[in-house]
Symmetry: C2
Subunit: 209 residues, 2 copies
C-alpha cells in the first residue's frame, strides 16, 4: 500500500508517519519508483503499536525506541521484554531525599522480600508503592502486612491471570501490545471496578437490604 492508505488505516497523518520513519521507529517502505514507496502489513501493525504506546502509555519517543529495540532482538527473552515495557511505562516517581521516604522504600523492599516476589530493584512500582506509604503515614494511617494482605492477594490473582494469557508463541509485537494493555488499560479497569464494588459494599453494609 502507499503512504496515504497507510495513513488512512492507521489513523495517523502522513506527516506523523514520516516523522516515525525519520526517528527510526518505523522501517522505510520498499522503493516503488522515484518518489513512491510501498508499505506492507508489518508497517501497519508497527504503527498501531506505536500509536498505542503513545496514546495509552503516554510514552516519549525514546522509551518507545527502547521497547521496539527489545522487541526486535530475539536474544531478549519474554521476561526481559516485559520488564523493559513496564519500566518504560513508569510512572517514574522522583524519590525525595527525605527520611520518611527512605523508610517507606525500605518497607516496600522488605514486603517484596517477605512475599518472595521476583521484582527488579529498579522497578518503578517499588517507588510508586513507597509513595503511597508516605501518604498513608502522613494522614495517620499506619501500614501493616495484615492491612495489605487483601490487596496483595487481589494483585497476585489478577497478575497471574494476565501473564497466563500471554501466549508463549505469539508474535512479539502482539505480546508487547498485550503487556501494554494489561499494565495500563486493565489497571484502569481494576480501579474503576474497585470503586463500583466499594459503592456496592457500602450499600449492602450501611443501607439495609
Amino acid at each position: 500500500m502507499q503512504i496515504s492508505e497507510l495513513s488512512d488505516r492507521s489513523g495517523l497523518t502522513v506527516q506523523t508517519i514520516k516523522f516515525y520513519i525519520r526517528e527510526e521507529l518505523l522501517p522505510r517502505g520498499t522503493a516503488a519508483g522515484a518518489t513512491r514507496a510501498e508499505y506492507g502489513p508489518g508497517h501497519l501493525e508497527r504503527l498501531r503499536l506505536i500509536r498505542a504506546l503513545r496514546e495509552v502509555g503516554d510514552l516519549p519517543i525514546a522509551a518507545i525506541r527502547r521497547i521496539l529495540a527489545a522487541m526486535e532482538n530475539d536474544g531478549i527473552g519474554m521476561h526481559e521484554l516485559f520488564g523493559t515495557t513496564q519500566h518504560a511505562i513508569g510512572p517514574h516517581v522522583a524519590p525525595p531525599d527525605d527520611p520518611h521516604w527512605r523508610a517507606a522504600r525500605e518497607d516496600v523492599d522488605a514486603l517484596v522480600g517477605e512475599l518472595g516476589w521476583r521484582v527488579s530493584a529498579r522497578a518503578p512500582a517499588r517507588d510508586l508503592l513507597a509513595q503511597t506509604f508516605v501518604g498513608l503515614r502522613r494522614l495517620g494511617f499506619p501500614i501493616t502486612l495484615a492491612d495489605l494482605r487483601p490487596y496483595v492477594r487481589a494483585a497476585a490473582d489478577v497478575a497471574e491471570h494476565e501473564i497466563g494469557r500471554v501466549a508463549h508463541d505469539a508474535p512479539r509485537t502482539r505480546t508487547v501490545h498485550s503487556m501494554l494493555v494489561s499494565t495500563v488499560l486493565y489497571e484502569q479497569v481494576l480501579t474503576a471496578l474497585h470503586r463500583l464494588a466499594q459503592e456496592d459494599a457500602s450499600a449492602r453494609r450501611f443501607d439495609g437490604n
Copy 2:
C-alpha cells in the same frame, strides 16, 4: 490554642487557615480578646481532613464544602456520605457524544446489572470503566465477561475488606477520612502491587526458576 499554633500543628499557613474560615470550611474560633481567637482540637482535626481532601483527593473547594456539609448533617446516612465523598473525588470523565462511547457505557450498565451491584446511575466510576472499554476496543481487544471475571473478583474482595473496616460508631470526620484513604490511596496501593505482581508472575512464567 491560637492560630499560630493551629498553623504549626496542621502544617498549613495562617493565611490558608483564614481563607478556609472565610470560605466557611472551618468554623471561626472563640473570641478571646479584641483581635484574638481560640481554636480547639476539633479545628485541628477538621484542618487535617481538609488538607487530605485537597492534597490526596485533589478536590476543589466546592467539592470539599459538599463533603463537609454531608458529614455534619446527621440525617445523612453512612452510605450517602460514602457516595458524596466518592462522587466528589471523581474523576469526572466528560462522555463524548459518540456511538462507541455510548455502546461502552451500555456494556458497563449491563455488567453492573448482571453482577447485581447497587451502584448509582450517576457514579463517576461507570464512565471511568466505559472509557477503558473504548480504549480496549480501539486497540482490538474485545471485552468479555470472562476476561473481566478475575478483576471483578479482586475488586469485590478488596472493597468488602475496606467497607468492613469502617467502624459503625466512629466519628464521622474519621469515617470520611478513611473513605478518602480507601478510595484514593489504597487504590494506588493496589495499582503498585498489581505491577509488582505482574513482574513476579512474568519472572516465574518466562524466566525459569
